[in-house]
């Protein structure tokens, strides 16, 4: 049981290049999330998905796209990378949250992206 895995762990891009970050979970979770973490700003939600085939915008969606073609995978795409997208990206997943659930999110180890 690997939990949440992310690929790649590190990446350096030049401005204008594109790339896709892959997140995979083996816990049969319905909900998946992409966050970015910047110093002094905590975790900010980029996009999320409440099930296979669905996606929704979070707090900071501009410049990113996502897809959830399979329940276990959630992809984050950068079409034209900018230096402002230099950050550490975390994927997370959880069961469908409800009022009574603990709603624990399980996080991957992160992808450190630098855009030059």
């Amino acid at each position: 049981n690997a939990g949440v895995t992310q690929t790649p762990k590190f990446r350096v891009l030049k401005t204008g290049q594109s790339m896709t970050l892959l997140c995979a979970q083996d816990m049969n979770h319905e909900y998946m999330y992409w966050y970015r973490q910047d110093p002094g700003m905590g975790l900010r939600l980029i996009h999320y998905s409440v099930g296979e085939g669905t996606t929704a915008k979070g707090e900071v969606p501009d410049g990113y796209n996502v897809s959830r073609l399979k329940k276990q995978n959630f992809l984050l795409g950068l079409e034209s990378a900018a230096p402002s997208q230099t950050s550490v990206y975390f994927c997370a997943s959880n069961l469908k949250p409800d009022f009574l659930s603990l709603n624990e999110q399980f996080f991957g180890p992160g992808t450190r992206l630098t855009v030059l």
Binding site: Y35, G42, R44, Q105, G110
Partner: protein, 108 residues
Amino acid sequence: TQLLEQSPQFLSIQEGENLTVYCNSSSVFSSLQWYRQEPGEGPVLLVTVVTGGEVKKLKRLTFQFGDARKDSSLHITAAQPGDTGLYLCAGQVEKLTFGTGTRLTIIP
């Protein structure tokens, strides 16, 4: 957007001392979580508090949810080097909103 401010942003103390970190908001949350994150890893859940005024203990860590469910505190007794890390609070309304984080360093 609900904003969660954590204080202090950085804290460095000697092993054996006590400390408290705070998580404050003007919004009411249905529940509040505390996570700890170590370098190179993702956050890991420590505790969830749901009821206003609720207090939960996890060994030397004590978590309290404010009566109005707008704020929370984390108190660590007799801090140890293993407590070093980034502590994040996260408030739940429809989605989870994370705080700005407190980076704690315990000096042996």
